[in-house]
């Protein structure tokens, strides 16, 4: 039966998850410049909010949570509710139509917490900056602790950035 075969195969000669990248030095420096945050522990719960992304950043976030990169083995996991989150990961240039939902989601996250702007759009609006429909980056709405650049950032870059978030909390 293929199910058993596959499970057996994966156990015996399964795919190896990529070795985790070292935490990003730029990201660590960026975090150090910010306000000193209370320790959040070494296992962080992330709530992802798409605020006008083209969905490219979501694809790479999916890849980062998948078996090839496996966010979870670093102690990071994506949660379904902002109430369970330590950090908000925001993608997209922040469309005006998502701004109220972003604010409400941010309010629902318990304090202390972190805000991560993921992708070039979340940084400054990317190639959508300046239109009537976008706010031009997460920083226009919430204080941002960390920006992970890239369009979209690769899973390795996402892991390296998020690791910096954890290292600082040690």
């Amino acid at each position: 039966m293929p199910l058993n075969h596959l499970l057996f195969r994966n156990i015996v000669k399964g795919h190896r998850t990529e070795p985790a990248p070292a935490s990003d030095a730029h990201a660590a420096a960026e975090l150090a410049r910010g306000a000193p945050g209370a320790g959040l522990g070494r296992s962080l719960a992330l709530r992802v909010v798409d605020c006008g992304s083209c969905n490219g950043c979501e694809l790479e976030l999916h890849a980062a949570t998948g078996p090839a990169y496996d966010l979870d083995h670093l102690g990071l996991h994506v949660v379904a509710s902002p109430r369970h989150a330590d950090a908000l990961v925001v993608t997209g240039p922040v469309s005006a139509n998502m701004e109220p939902a972003l604010r409400r989601t941010a309010q629902a996250v318990p304090r202390p917490n972190r805000v991560v702007a993921l992708g070039d759009c979340a940084g400054d609006g990317g190639c959508f900056a300046g239109t009537y429909a976008v706010k031009g980056g997460v920083g226009q709405i919430l204080p941002v602790d960390l920006h992970i650049p890239g369009c979209p950032p690769t899973p390795t870059r996402i892991l390296a950035g998020l690791r910096a978030l954890m290292d600082r909390e040690r």
């Binding site: 293929p2 199910l3 075969h5 969905n55 490219g56 999916h62 998948g66 998502m98």
Partner: protein, 505 residues
Amino acid sequence: MMMGRATLMEVLSLGRPVAGARPWPRVVLDDRAWRALVGHMAVADWVLLAEWGGPDEVHVALRDEETGEIAIATRASADRRFFALGPVRPGAIRLERAIRDLWGLAPEGLEDQRPWLDHGHWPVHHPLGAASPPQPARPYRFLAAEGEGLHQVPVGPVHAGIIEPGHFRFHVQGETVVRLEARLGYVHKGISAAMAGQTPAGAARVAGRVSGDSTVAYALAFAHAVEAASDCSPPPRAVWLRAVLAEIERIANHVFDIGAICNDAGFPLALSEASLLREMLLRANESLFGHRLAMDRVIPGGLACDIDEAGAALLAATLTRFGKRFQRLVALYRDTPSLLDRTIGAGVVAGALVYRFGAGGFVGRAASRGVDARKVPGYPPYDQLDFVIPVRAEGDVDARIEIRIAEIRISLDLLARLLAGLPSGPVAAAVPRAAGEGLGVVEGFRGKILVWVRLAEDGTVAQCHPHDPSWFQWPLLEAAIEGNILADFPLCNKSFNCSYSGVDL
């Protein structure tokens, strides 16, 4: 008014053809001729391809199924209104609501006058047309359902997990969904405004970000449109390599979605396998073309990347390994009865609705509608390659998975032939700076993507409108979930995997 059977071109002969519109004609109609067109549409077999606004004009792209002719009809609308197509083509309803929100042109005769993209948060009203001060947001009236024991379940815009935002309003009786209505527009970022005034190269970057999962397909449709408008022919090698990138994108999306659908049926092992399969392709993209999603590789005039013989051989070998491993995923899906129990008979879309809305892609092909832009209208290099278009009749989640399985196999086969027959030569041609209009039609993994562009005298983009296949698929999801249990919504939704970003613009 003409009576009886008339072809699309006969009806459009009442209007004034526009010079410089390529490769298909565009004809400007006055109000009377436009009404005659709509009157004919009620009885004619003309497929609505896209409808969009402009300064004081509304455009509709149509294809006459009997003659195969494609044409754009334009209603010059100095009076800022137009006779709506929604009553004869339900797929046009949301398009016309969006035209009113963006351009301020009023669709006359449209029953649904609620806003669509404008949620009352923009600094201007009718931002692309005669902009005026914003109007305060009014509560959105969802369609009602009444009956004993009915209750509403509002979901979104922020969803659990990593997914795009949108609001779903369910009316349920016990576990059963009686009505679903989606409200979208949350990720509207002003794509048309972001493209206007840019050079074709600059606007191509934006085109490749209309819906990131279809970045190659959008960049290709945009390139086709610009090349048509400026009368530029990309070199043969670019044409073939573009198809290589496009087929890799199709496979990568299909395989991941197959896994994600199984995951939503409570079978994460398939997602895990599918993610690794997808990863194989993205890594090949990165090492050979310099970007995991191949963003910004397709440019007007050709390609921004090339591969050498060793690269082509490496890619072919990767695809062979992929094919073998993919067989195991297929076997896993087909031999897991508890999984099939969830997918067979769930989320059925009636073929009649698919035709009524003109839905394409795997949603259409899983419910009897055999359409594929690579065949009709067709574009190179596919006109030189033999391949079949898989079609099923069941219209359920399983049929949509099976169509995708078949399409992956066909794309793998196409890729082998594309890589074996790559013409030599340059990969890009210069795009002449000239005024003109062009329409590009490309088959993305979801279905037909249209991009219409108008270039100004200096060669910059005066206006561009991208049309996503999801416009005609979202409404069918609402129909497909009716009578299913609420808990099956994620499964049905994923089996459609419509784009939010692509339709929100």
